[in-house]
Subunit: 474 residues, 2 copies
């Protein structure tokens, strides 16, 4: 037999039983809260048309999209000149090596045409663009505002590293077709409720893109927004002095940098921060609007761990209003949730004017936080409860009958698969962490009884068959 | 804005809320039975290394595997002669068009090398091979017998048609590391329990590959097995006379065809069939063993809808012992489940001697059967239960407070997102099939009461806030 490469693709994982159960505990907690808030499930396929995804995540994103090779003769229609420097079918001279092999630069330019020829589908990169595609395709039938949640894997060809995978789950809730801030209020409540149910202590940070826009307007114009947010985003990592240096390099003058420093220095309670930000930015129309938004969300949501964080920027994405981010306390970990309001989700797909707001849960990170802080409840383990020993044909026939009675009432039970040595059967129970074993040997069969042993305590009792059923059927 | 292609890849589907709920009802029913039988969940990634999958499903299967294009400069290292008929770097003469462009046949031969160069990963085609890969990688740590279930999507580049999709779920349970027939007994019980819980009337058919092998041995040798099973597989479609013609074409003589006809003519109750098959095949050692196996499963499983079906062959796959197939009654539909025993699951991955047995549920077909026979219970619909109307700031503030109290007790509720016309809010409730609306207007707010209306009956009542909570919190 040829040597076989038995491995997993880089950046992907198998999940065994215990991990699946813990992950499902997180998923079902989140889903149950989504449902209670009136969100409905949606599932979209793993693959989308390539042109649905390309160009939506920036040039870097396009590179990280997993493209699927067309089936069949995917090269048909491509000609030598698509790959190489020269059209070969009508040569007048012997081509030189230089003519045949393109320069790296020229070759790169050809990639996009070749990729589009050999691939017309790709794995989804996030849940937002497929959702936008779904809304664009179905908006006439959807009841607006449309509240959907979606819990599915996505794929990115990122360099794998600790905590970053090529296949991972996203867990999103979005409302589209409504500009009401009630949605933001509800989404912050969903964050608070989910993390409270999971037992994870968090801070829910909010800001508004309008506040950042106002800061930019005051500091030299709207075109400065990107420079300012990029610099601000680094505050945690590099500190205020380096941020100021970077702002200077990006062309901001002393006065402007001083305004930004005042902005970044806003601290204190939410009320104190609100007073300070009003003083700084409420003369600007956009700023006043942004401040009003976050104040409304703060006052209406009634959540104690909601915090204004004016350094929050959420990268260079499509958000236009309130933005959210969730950080876990007592543990070193990036944000475990984020989201915000966008003005026009489906415009990319030819259906303009559908505003929305959404949040996302970072399930892999939440899992890591809960493992580190040991927050998974013992009840997450739900394996087999009872192992019946197999001690012969007649004995196991009786065991099977009792086991089926228990299973029919929802009690997870197993009968050891063969009449092996006592020890071997015992080890099976231990390894699978089965809490109870039931022994029916010749003696027990004769007296219509069985021996029940609890492995954790070593406690044993002998009981008749009826009592066995009663013991485990609640 | 450029025209945008807003569509889904052929053969893939979006699942809206109602469909997701119905599918989850099937999934959770199956999973709960798997769990009660001591099976544990496993999840493997969507993608596997290409060489893990290639060559495992036959030549046709290889073509239907979705390959993933490598990221980055995936063409690097390929040379003109890999694509075309000629090495271009060292030409002595001007090549002719014929030299440049390969014949179709020659070009096809190049595909496999090119594919392996541009793709090193693929989407999984079934759950069995990834499971085998997982067992091969982890067999030292696994507790044997290892009982796992797996419910995940798989992808096949089949031509899409009614009921056949390019992305669909498989739902498998397998036991590996045990030769005991107790596993077959349990798996038939899992089938019976799941379909009973779903309310789907089915026949569970069993046969043994050993019985088919014995028939082949009696009819001219083991090498006739493929010919015989291919012909037998068509019995339902083409009838006995055509099957006989085909057998003759495949080189079987009159006497052999007569034995096969006798075999196919076995009918009656299970006991009658058992007597007849024993008469025909028990003189053959393999046949006697196969008959003993299915008799044991039949006697021990205690299932009324288990049927011997000697025409059952389960295609040309790796099964070696008992085989299963499930057919729904009262509806035109192919098999909705199947499986069987295999001798050596992981040998392909360098770990021999791990036998096993498994079953699979065809979830898409089960869904279609349940839709056609209207078997989904009304309780599958679990959307929002109460819509609070939004009738102003003070009114909606109170509504929000009451809604949060209900949500905290698990009651799914919504507050309409804005203070719109009564009619608009009413329509939202109707479209989303929300059964109750709660109205708190100025009058109600003053008297600390609310108006509750049940949409299905039109019944209305006025109650105070405490009674509202009591009404919906059980």
């Amino acid at each position: 037999m040829a040597k076989v490469n038995v491995s997993l693709p880089q950046g992907t994982r198998d999940f065994g039983a215990e991990v699946v159960r813990k992950r499902n505990y997180i998923f079902s907690t989140i889903k149950s809260v989504f449902e209670v808030y009136g969100f409905e499930p949606l599932e979209t396929p793993a693959m989308e048309n390539l042109d649905t995804l390309m160009g939506k995540y920036g040039e870097e994103g396009d590179k990280l999209i997993f493209k699927i090779l067309n089936n069949g003769e995917y090269l048909n229609g491509l000609r030598p000149e698509d790959f190489f420097g020269i059209a070969l079918g009508s040569l007048k001279n012997i081509p030189t090596t230089e003519e045949v092999y393109l320069s790296t630069e020229d070759f790169k330019k050809k990639y996009s045409r070749i990729t589009n020829h050999v691939s017309s589908r790709a794995l989804k990169y996030d849940l937002t663009i497929p959702f936008a595609r779904y809304v664009a395709m179905n908006h006439h039938q959807l009841t607006m505002p449309f509240k959907r949640y979606q819990v599915q894997p996505v794929w990115r060809a990122d360099r794998p590293q600790k905590g970053r995978y090529r296949e991972f789950y996203q867990c999103d809730a979005d409302v589209v077709g409504s500009k009401s801030l009630l949605n933001e209020v509800e989404l912050t409540n969903i964050y608070a409720t989910v993390f409270s149910k999971l037992g994870v202590s968090v801070d829910i940070k909010i800001n508004s893109r309008k506040i950042l826009a106002a800061l930019a307007e005051i500091c030299g114009g709207a075109d400065k927004m990107v420079d300012i947010t990029i610099a601000i985003d680094k505050l945690d990592k590099i500190g205020i002095e380096k941020v100021k240096e970077e702002l200077a390099q990006r062309g901001l003058n002393t006065e402007q940098i001083s305004i930004i420093e005042n902005y970044l220095n806003i601290t204190g309670s939410n009320e104190e921060k609100l007073a300070a930000i009003k003083q700084l930015l409420s003369s600007n129309e956009t700023g006043a609007k942004g401040i009003e938004e976050i104040e409304t969300v703060y006052r209406q949501s009634g959540i104690s761990n909601l915090q204004f964080d004016f350094t929050l920027a959420r990268g260079l994405n499509y958000y236009t209003g309130v933005i959210f981010e969730v950080k876990a306390n007592n543990v070193q970990m990036g944000s475990i949730g984020g989201g915000g309001r966008y003005d026009d989700l489906t415009g990319l797909f030819g259906v303009p004017n559908i505003p929305g707001v959404g949040i996302s849960f970072g399930v892999d990170r939440i899992y890591d936080v809960m493992e580190e802080l040991q927050l998974f409840p013992a009840s997450v383990h739900t394996g087999t409860k009872i192992l019946f020993f197999n001690l012969g044909d007649a004995e196991s026939k009786k065991a099977f009958e009792l086991m089926q009675a228990l299973r029919s009432k929802g009690v997870a039970a197993e009968l050891y698969h063969e009449n092996s040595k006592f020890d071997k059967q015992f080890k099976y129970a231990e390894k699978k962490q089965i809490p109870f074993i039931v022994i029916i040997g010749t003696k027990e069969l004769e007296s219509s009884s069985c021996n029940v042993k609890e492995l954790a305590t070593g406690q044993q009792e002998t009981c008749n068959f009826d009592d066995l059923l009663k013991k485990f059927i609640s």
